[in-house]
Symmetry: C2
Subunit: 198 residues, 2 copies
């Protein structure tokens, strides 16, 4: 007998293993679980996967995921449309929305500048951001604090600041609940750099 | 904005969260990954899930998963068809096959006797096992060493032994590479009980 008793199971395990954080053991466990589910539930799972891909659109204003032409954040008249938070991925919008404090809108770049991977400024949605600036007071750059994220933030700031628009960068420092002893040097260094008077 | 920017994403996250070992955070991470995959790969993933459920059959002889009427183990003339290993689930067959040492065949019960859950001997494939005994020399019972597994093993042994067929139980004891200090008392107790002369 091969590793898997059926071609269909082998194929399912192979597909599941490609997902991030799913190793071959987990994939096998999930596959056998799926076989033990009733047909209706399996069908719904498969359909939900395909529908999510097929039905999710990119908001024509900010570029985050939505069901319609324009996302619920961009459509919401109670939000502050003069403040734009720039992020790399749609998943970053979800992370910021979970916080519930931010009342501005977003702009999703769908990537960061990365010369080593051949990604230049024209490959991400910077042009679209520039096109939105007419009615905007502040651009908050929330790309990740890694090399590409910082380079992208610096590039955008350099483009926008001469237009007299306020450009800010989210703070980087000690995460809440963290312990100095176990915090990496780069984070401590950024926390020191960003210190504020009490 | 709701927790998820689109209905389709919310539905996908909900379905993924129902899988074992997938919490809501992992489900969300997987969902966003799926959205970032190309359509062809997403379609293949969805199809592989549905096909696994639709195309996988139960072997008419042993009850494990297969593509055809009879599984590759039961069809294999080089295997020892006079030795049957009894397991609870099809996934147990996969685990035993990974070992590669076992040359006999299998019988999958699809459950274990569990009065507390209303599962009696007639609810699992014991009748089918009895029907196969004519040409069999040894029945190895490999149900799990938990209450239900032990009860099921005892029940099957009581049924089969009077027929003059050898009934064995797989050994339970210290797992290879384990440390006495960190091994639970029940396992140590079983290891002592099952000790053999050197």
């Amino acid at each position: 007998m091969a590793v898997h008793p059926s071609e269909a199971i082998a194929s399912l395990v192979a597909h599941l293993s490609k997902l991030p954080g799913i190793g071959s053991k987990t994939a096998q466990r999930l596959a056998y679980h799926i076989l033990s589910m009733n047909s209706q539930d399996v069908r719904e799972l498969a359909v939900s996967i395909w529908n999510a891909k097929k039905n999710t659109k990119l908001c024509s204003v900010c570029g985050s995921y939505c069901d319609d032409e324009v996302c619920s954040v961009c459509e919401d008249p109670t939000r502050d449309h003069r403040t734009v938070c720039v992020v790399r991925d749609p998943r970053d919008v979800a992370a910021l929305e979970r916080m519930r404090d931010y009342r501005g809108v977003y702009h999703v770049l769908h990537g960061t500048i990365s010369p080593i991977n051949g990604v230049g400024p024209s490959d991400i949605r910077i042009k679209e951001l520039m096109g939105r600036l007419a009615d905007i007071d502040e651009v908050i750059i929330a790309t990740n604090p890694d090399i590409e994220g910082e380079a992208t933030a610096a590039y955008i700031a350099r483009m926008i600041k001469p237009m007299g628009i306020k450009v800010t960068r989210i703070a980087h420092g000690m995460p809440i609940g963290a312990d100095l002893e176990y915090t990496d040097e780069k984070t401590i260094s950024r926390a020191m750099e960003g210190r504020r008077e009490m």
